[in-house]
C-alpha cells in the first residue's frame, strides 16, 4: 500500500506554563521543537501499514525549517520520502493547510491510506484530517487506535465513547490516529537516525494563506492559584491528607 502520513513538529507541549510566551500573535520560548505526540501515533500506524503491506510510507509537513524534526524522525523509521511544504510559521487556517497538504500528496502520486494525528498540540484544532477527507471526497475514520492490513483494505480499531469498535474498511481512506494499544511510536535505531540526517527532504513552495479564519488575539490563559501544601514527615503528611479527604468526601474511611 502507498501510505502518506502528515507529521507536524511543535514546541514541546509539556513545557510548563510560562515557558511559552504569546507575543504579537505568535508563541515564543526557549523550548525544544518535537514531533507532536499524536503525529507520533500517525507515524507509527503509517510505518506498520507500509511494512505489513510491503508498501511505502511517505511523509509531509507544512511549515518552516522547524518541521524537519519530525520529517527526519520519519525518515529514520523507514519513510521513503519526506516533503516539506515551505510556508512561514505562525497560525494558518486548517482549511488552507488541508488544501496545501492535499496538493503535496497529489504531487506524490496520491496514496491508498492518508494518516493524520487527531490533534496538533499548538493550535489544538483537531480538524485537519476531517477537512482533508471532505476536500478529497474520501471516507474518514477518526480516532484510530490500532490497524492491521487485510488484503486491499484495513482492519481498524477506533475510539468510541466508553470503549472502542473494530471493523474493516477498503482503501483509499483517511485516518486520524489517537493513542492506544497499537499506535505507540517505536524508537528509531541510532544508526538509522544518523543515516536519516543525510537523506534529502524535498521542499515544495507553499501558497499564501488565503482561506478561513485569521487570528485576532492570542493571550496566555489565567491559571489557577496554588493552594496549600501539607508539610511534615510521611506520617504527618498522610494524616493531614486523610483529614482533608474526609472533609471533602463525606462518609469515607472511619469518618462517617
Amino acid at each position: 500500500m502507498r501510505v502518506i502520513a502528515f507529521v507536524k513538529s511543535i514546541l514541546d507541549p509539556e513545557a510548563p506554563p510560562g515557558a511559552i510566551r504569546f507575543e504579537a500573535g505568535k508563541a515564543v520560548g526557549d523550548v525544544p521543537q518535537v514531533l507532536g505526540p499524536y503525529e507520533g501515533n500517525a507515524l507509527e500506524l503509517g510505518v506498520q501499514i507500509a511494512e505489513a503491506s510491503q508498501g511505502e510510507l511517505r511523509v509531509v509537513a507544512l511549515g518552516g525549517q522547524e518541521q524537519e524534526t519530525g520529517l527526519r524522525k520519519a525518515l529514520a523509521l523507514g519513510a521513503v520520502a519526506a516533503v516539506r511544504v515551505d510556508v512561514s510559521g505562525g497560525f494558518r487556517d486548517p482549511l488552507d493547510t488541508a488544501g496545501e497538504l492535499k496538493a503535496a500528496a497529489d504531487a506524490l502520486g496520491g496514496a491508498d491510506v492518508y494518516i493524520f494525528g487527531r490533534q496538533a498540540g499548538d493550535w489544538d484544532q483537531g480538524v485537519t484530517a476531517g477537512l482533508f477527507a471532505g476536500l478529497s471526497g474520501l471516507p474518514y475514520v477518526p480516532l484510530v487506535q490500532a490497524g492491521e492490513v487485510l488484503g486491499a483494505g484495513l482492519k481498524l480499531r477506533r475510539e468510541i465513547p466508553g470503549g472502542y469498535e473494530e471493523g474493516e474498511i477498503a482503501a483509499p481512506c483517511v485516518l486520524s490516529a489517537s493513542n492506544g494499544p497499537g499506535t505507540l511510536l517505536r524508537l528509531p535505531k541510532v544508526k538509522d537516525v544518523m543515516l536519516a540526517n543525510r537523506k534529502p527532504i524535498e521542499v515544495r513552495e507553499g501558497g499564501k494563506a488565503s482561506a478561513g479564519f485569521s487570528p485576532a488575539s492570542l493571550e496566555a490563559s489565567v491559571t489557577r492559584r496554588a493552594g496549600r501544601r501539607i508539610e511534615g514527615d510521611l506520617k504527618a503528611q498522610a494524616e493531614g491528607l486523610a483529614q482533608e479527604l474526609r472533609r471533602v468526601i463525606p462518609g469515607i474511611g472511619g469518618g462517617a
Binding site: 480538524v127 476531517g130 477537512l131 470503549g163
Partner: protein
C-alpha cells in the same frame, strides 16, 4: 447569513447549541435534528428539520455524515453550529471540507457581526486563548458547558426521509470498556500518571478508589504505558471531568491534562517533585513519594 445548529436529540449539550443558534440567528435560526425514532415536536431554534437514524446510540461517523447530508439537502446554512465532541468528530470537519468552509472546534464563545464570524478557542493545550475571525461561513464545534441552555419553544418537525446509511466499517464490533467508569459523571476521581512507575502500581489505585468511592482516571502517559485504557484518559483529548474531588497521583500537570480536569471543585495532588506544575492547580498538595505515602495514608484513613 443563515445560522443553523446540527444536533442529536440524545446529546446532553444539544440544547446549549440550539440556544446559541437562537441567540445568533434570532427568529431566522435553523434547527437540524438527528432522532433515534420518529417524533412530532422538539425544542428548537427557528424552523426545524429532522431525520430518523435507527440505532442512533451506536451510529458511526459515516451514518451520522449521511444523516447530516440528508438534513441539509445540499443547502447547508452559512454558519453551522455543532456540539464539540463525538458528533463534531464524525461530521464537523469533513462537512466543512466538503463545503469548502473553515472549521473550528472548542469554541468557548461565538459572535456574529454582519458576515463576520468571531470565535474564541483554547490553544497550546489550554495555555492560551486564541481569538479567530473569518468572513462568511464556517462549521463550528461549540465547547460543552460554555453556553447556557435556555428554554426553547416546542417546534413541529419537518421530517426528512433517508434510506438507512451503510456503516463506515464493515463487520463492526463494539467493545465497551470494562474500566468504563463514567468519569464524566463521577463525583470523586483518582487519576494516576507515569509517576506510578508500573502497571501493578496503577492497578493498586483500585484500592484507593474503593476507599474514596472514586472512579479511576489516567494521564495520557499512563495510557501510553498500557496501564490504563484510552477511555480513562482525562484531558484535552480525553474526558473532560467535573467531579467534586480530583486526586492526581504521579501526574506532572501538563496543561493538556489540566484542561480536562479544570471543572473539578477540589484538587489534591501527590507528586515527589515540589516544582511539578500540578501543584499550581491543586487546592492541596503533598510532596512525597506515592509508594511510601500510600501505606501511611491507608492507615490514617482506616484510623478515622
Amino acid at each position: 447569513m443563515r445560522v443553523g445548529a446540527l444536533v442529536r436529540s440524545d446529546d446532553q449539550s444539544a440544547l446549549e447549541v440550539l440556544s446559541l443558534a437562537q441567540e445568533l440567528g434570532g427568529g431566522a435560526a435553523e434547527t437540524y435534528l438527528i432522532l433515534p425514532a420518529p417524533q412530532a415536536q422538539h425544542p428548537a431554534a427557528g424552523k426545524a428539520r429532522a431525520v430518523v437514524l435507527e440505532g442512533l446510540a451506536d451510529a458511526d461517523p459515516a451514518q451520522l455524515f449521511a444523516a447530516a447530508e440528508a438534513l441539509f439537502g445540499g443547502a447547508a446554512p452559512d454558519v453551522v453550529l455543532l456540539p464539540d465532541g463525538p458528533l463534531f468528530e464524525a461530521v464537523g470537519a469533513r462537512l466543512a471540507g466538503s463545503l469548502g468552509r473553515p472549521a473550528v472546534r472548542d469554541a468557548g464563545s461565538v459572535a456574529l457581526d454582519g458576515s463576520r464570524v468571531r470565535v474564541v478557542k483554547g490553544a497550546f493545550g489550554g495555555k492560551a486563548a486564541l481569538g479567530l475571525e473569518t468572513e462568511g461561513g464556517a462549521v463550528i464545534g461549540v465547547r460543552q458547558g460554555a453556553h447556557p441552555a435556555q428554554d426553547l419553544p416546542q417546534t413541529s418537525l419537518e421530517m426528512v426521509q433517508m434510506a438507512p446509511p451503510a456503516p463506515l466499517l464493515s463487520g463492526r464490533k463494539a467493545v465497551r470498556d470494562s474500566s468504563g467508569d463514567d468519569l464524566g459523571r463521577a463525583k470523586v476521581i483518582v487519576s494516576g500518571g507515569r509517576g506510578l512507575g508500573s502497571a501493578e502500581a496503577y492497578a493498586a489505585l483500585r484500592d484507593v478508589a474503593q476507599l474514596l468511592g472514586a472512579s479511576l482516571g489516567a494521564s495520557r502517559a499512563a495510557v501510553d504505558e498500557g496501564w490504563a485504557s484510552p477511555s480513562q484518559q482525562v484531558g484535552i483529548t480525553g474526558q473532560k471531568v467535573a467531579p467534586e474531588v480530583y486526586v492526581a497521583i504521579g501526574i506532572s500537570g501538563a496543561s493538556q491534562h489540566l484542561s480536562g480536569m479544570s471543572g473539578a471543585k477540589f484538587v489534591v495532588a501527590v507528586n515527589r517533585d515540589d516544582k511539578a506544575p500540578i501543584f499550581e492547580a491543586a487546592d492541596v498538595g503533598v510532596v512525597a513519594d506515592w509508594h511510601a505515602l500510600w501505606p501511611e495514608l491507608r492507615r490514617a484513613l482506616a484510623g478515622g
